[in-house]
Symmetry: C2
Subunit: 336 residues, 2 copies
């Protein structure tokens, strides 16, 4: 049996059934204040009777916008972004917005392409962790009056909002924690490709220099294997390193892998401090001391910033800086 094609119900069908014009139906559905209550009731009845659902595509064209926000991250499979995306989705959903997810793999070209799509789709706003903070398409979005809020790293266009964590300060905290515990040879697993990690590296280097210690960092480019091999190199160097700061959670995983492979005890033989607080950090071997970002709070702030812009309540850009929180567990080897 071939299924009969059911023609979708349009606003004019509802209007006909209710005995009013399509304009009136539209007004009722869009909460226009002034509609005769008898008409209103009949419209509502007709809507229900027919199971009418407005065609979003038509609404979008008419209004020249889409009730969607674009979320652009470099890797949704990284817990940092997964947690952020989840929080953003929750905040957006409760405001009636949907999330268009854009995964860039850290490629400027993919970011460009996605931002172009977001502009073409006339999303209400964009939240992005920029792979390419100076991309023209960011300006193009803003030209279209589509608000943009950056996280992790600000973008160069001064019209964009931003919410970033104090990466430098967090690294200072981590470094001091280890210095105060008596460590003199502290290594840092870095990633020159990531702005956040570079900021952390800078905080580490300055803190080391300030107390006359020699910084010693190695780049690992964020894949777990690279974190492991950077760790190995650091261990093989003549530095006599006794403590390690992992620039991000991939590096921490890599460091753990290398340390486990060599049967080096953490924290007894090697202290470790990491950034971010993915679900596994508290049950790692040993439980990881971390500097955690307030991801939920950042997500809410970003959606709020977007909301202000969407409603035209603010013209001047804002840059929020939020603090990390130190969560001392076992890996740093200090009781506190």
């Amino acid at each position: 049996m071939v299924k009969a094609e059911v023609p979708p119900i349009r606003i004019r069908d509802v209007a006909a059934l209710a005995g009013v014009s399509p304009a009136t139906v539209s007004r009722v559905l869009n909460m226009a204040p002034s509609v005769n209550s008898a008409d209103r009731a009949r419209v509502l009845t007709a809507v229900k009777a027919l199971g009418y659902r407005p065609n979003r595509l038509a609404q979008n064209l008419r209004r020249q916008k889409t009730e969607m926000i674009g979320v652009v991250v470099s890797d949704i499979d990284n817990p940092h972004f997964a947690t952020m995306v989840r929080a953003l989705e929750g905040a957006a959903y409760s405001l009636g917005y949907r999330v268009l997810l854009c995964n860039t793999d850290g490629q400027a070209e993919k970011q460009r392409s996605y931002l172009e799509v977001l502009a073409a789709e006339r999303v209400l706003g964009v939240v992005l962790s920029p792979s390419n903070p100076a991309g023209d398409e960011i300006g193009a979005l803003l030209d279209l009056r589509i608000p943009v809020v950056a996280f992790d790293r600000p973008v160069t266009d001064p019209r964009a909002d931003a919410v970033v964590a104090d990466n430098r300060g967090a690294a200072v905290t981590a470094t001091k924690l280890l210095i105060n515990a008596g460590h003199k040879h502290i290594g840092f697993l870095s990633n020159p490709d990531l702005f956040t990690v570079s900021q952390r590296l800078a905080g580490y280097e300055d803190t080391m220099a300030a107390v006359g210690l020699r910084p010693c960092s190695l780049p690992g480019y964020s894949r777990i294997e690279e974190g492991a091999s950077a760790t190995s190199k650091l261990l093989d160097s003549s530095e006599g390193i006794t403590a390690l700061i992992a620039g991000n959670n991939s590096m921490a995983l890599g460091a753990l892998r290398a340390l486990h492979a060599r049967k080096i005890k953490v924290p007894e033989e090697m202290a470790l401090v990491a950034f971010d607080d993915p679900i596994w950090a508290a049950v790692a071997n040993p439980p990881l001391t971390v500097l955690a970002q307030p991801i939920e709070q950042m997500a809410e702030s970003m959606v709020d910033l977007l909301q202000e812009r969407i409603h035209g309540n603010r013209l001047e850009p804002r840059r929020l800086v939020v603090d990390f929180e130190l969560r001392v567990r076992e890996s740093c080897g200090t009781a506190q």
Copy 2:
């Protein structure tokens, strides 16, 4: 300085500049085979000169569809879904589709609401891990000729495709692994709310029964804390349990937490096998023996299934079952 409002360029602007009709511009842009090559060249020049980009919203209305696929999961922050979403995004992107991300928190109501949005937006297809496999909106989607492919768990509507892993078989493998290692008292951390976990539980129970062992499971509802408390209860019971199977990765994390808290050595005092292979599993304490799903392959299959439907190349529904892969590491305590 107030920025001048730049009126967006429309197809008629391009047509005027190129000295042709809007229809011709449209044909050139949509690769219609037969357009005079002189006209074609002039259109392309005009497009470039004006920086014209077709208005997607108008295209969507006209075509009554959107180049988007909806992806519906219960928790993007769970590595299982994060990895799946990433793989789906990659596969979709290379086919020119975008991903509308829908996070349901496992709530039937949120699933309903999202599927309604996806229908209203006339997405090209939907991939979902169903919270509510019998939701009417799934049928509504299919009525609109929007293909649906389920994963993790099939949906009841026979017109939907599905890609599921052999959860039952994987649990049989896990249980036999432990039985062969000599364990007689094997506990299972379950979650009656999750179809996948229930399937695994069934495989475990049958395998235990088949060799005359007494199954012993405790529900934990998937939050890490609950996994931990279920583990504690199992340890406190009089069963004398020597091995544990964690029904999913949250339960595994909870089990590890409880085991660490009690200083119970894994695998010496307690063997552990888990499902899925999140990034941290290989560096957990100890590295976890797992049954891993071929997530990437599942994602590709699902996008392929969608693609066949979108192009109308297939009418009869398909259900694919894929196998887990056993990855023996240290937590099960068998050298193999």
